[in-house]
């Protein structure tokens, strides 16, 4: 039996809004656990544009996206949030006592009184490459990540892409595969120069093939690939291909949350603007993933949303308890929670 992680609030998504939710919930003594599909906190700020400045965070005329994430982590540290990375939430069920049981794609189980969906544009997932008719092969002979190198032993492998994932797997799977063809749109690579040099050296020794071009067609049957057509500068080339690994970056998809029985509005989750609660009491949605009349996808709007959400969450967790509105500037009890007074 898998151990169950229990927490007051389970936050789906560790982007800026999910992180600040820890702060607002923490002021009301609610303990938070965050789950994110990425391997680190920050969401889009960390994954898409860490170096880019943001100009509309109140009080910060300019702050880099990663800088904001770092400051938020510092700000929520007193509340000791727990993080689970590299996981996608898959299923959610309501228990008899009204709390929620959430399971991840790796079958970890969490139980929480409150669920806060702060999933931004959805979970980052590998982008499907622009190859017509690729769908039937996915999961059978086309894979977007390598779980076990053995799965590629003895195969004619085509790797598509020019970043570190593509080059690293080209080098690592070369000794295992029957043949390796690396396909990239141009002879310049985003990958580390050292890996690129190693790849060229192996090509020189005829241990692998490198083709400039784009994969335009596949042949095979019953999900099993046989060959791939590569359109290059000198026309079409057909290469044997029984396994393919395309690395075309990440895109965002709502994913399994769409199956949680919440009302949806064009892949967004409608909420009220008093509590930011979804159609299921106890499940809240904040930040870019929610929708309400006048919604703006701004980080600062998300910060406002979590402040109000925290009040509503507290009423669910501690029914009947009077909620005292306090300022961090003057409240000794809040300052104690923040660890700034003894």
């Amino acid at each position: 039996m898998t151990a169950i992680t229990k927490t007051d609030v389970l936050i789906v998504g560790a982007g800026p809004v999910g992180l600040f939710a820890v702060f607002e919930l923490g002021l009301f003594d609610m303990k938070c656990h965050l789950i994110d599909i990425l391997d680190r906190p920050g969401g889009q700020c960390a994954e898409l544009y860490p170096e880019k400045p943001i100009y509309d965070i109140p009080g910060w005329p300019s702050i880099s996206a990663q800088g904001l994430v770092d400051k938020l982590l510092e700000q929520i540290a007193p509340f000791k949030p727990e993080f689970t990375y590299n996981r996608m939430v898959s299923s959610l069920e309501r228990l008899e006592d009204g709390s929620f049981r959430v399971t991840t794609d790796e079958n970890e189980v969490f139980e929480a009184k409150i669920v806060v969906i702060a999933a931004g544009g959805g979970s980052f997932q590998p982008k499907r490459p622009p190859i017509p008719g690729i769908e039937p092969y996915e999961g059978k002979s086309v894979f977007y990540s390598v779980r076990r190198m053995e799965d590629f032993r003895g195969h004619d492998l085509v790797i598509v892409g020019g970043g570190d994932s593509a080059l690293d797997w080209t080098l690592n799977l070369q000794p295992v595969a029957k043949s390796v063809t690396l396909v990239h749109r141009r002879p310049e690579f985003r990958a580390a120069p050292d890996s690129v040099n190693k790849m060229y050296a192996m090509q020189e020794m005829k241990q692998l093939e490198f083709q400039v071009g784009q994969v335009t067609g596949l042949t095979g049957s019953d999900g099993q690939l046989a060959s791939a057509t590569i359109k290059g500068p000198e026309g079409d080339v057909e290469v044997p291909c029984t396994r393919m690994l395309p690395f075309f970056g990440l895109t965002m998809k709502l994913g399994p949350i769409a199956e949680w029985g919440l009302n949806l509005h064009e892949n967004l989750i409608p909420v009220d603007t008093e509590k930011f609660q979804t159609s299921v009491p106890g499940i809240f949605a904040v930040g870019d993933i929610n929708w309400y009349p006048g919604k703006l996808k701004l980080i600062l709007s998300g910060f406002h949303e979590v402040a109000l959400m925290a009040q509503a969450a507290k009423r669910i967790i501690s029914p009947g308890e009077r909620i005292v509105f306090q300022y961090t500037t003057s409240s000794t009890s809040l300052q104690k929670k923040l660890g700034v007074v003894d």
Partner: protein, 106 residues
Amino acid sequence: MTKLTFIAHDGTHFDVDAENCSTVMENAIRNAVPGIEAECGGACACATCHVYVDEAWTAEVGEPEAMEEDMLDFAYDVQPNSRLSCQIKVRDALDGLVVRVPARQG
């Protein structure tokens, strides 16, 4: 105002007035041109505002910088005249620019 024309994948023309210094992508979004997604909001981080620059304009528009070339690796059906529209700034010399929207964004 600088005139831009977007040609959607179904052939529909969108003639728009663009302010100088805005990006071609921003004008597509502002005018609801179908097929321009701009998932990342213009940070050159997603390749979902991919367009084909009309052959008559490729020289004036110019070549993508290295970072944009890198992002174009993630785009669908990349051609020599492919650009990310968030990286093209509108200026007087682009008055009359024509760009085509690809069949899909990634």
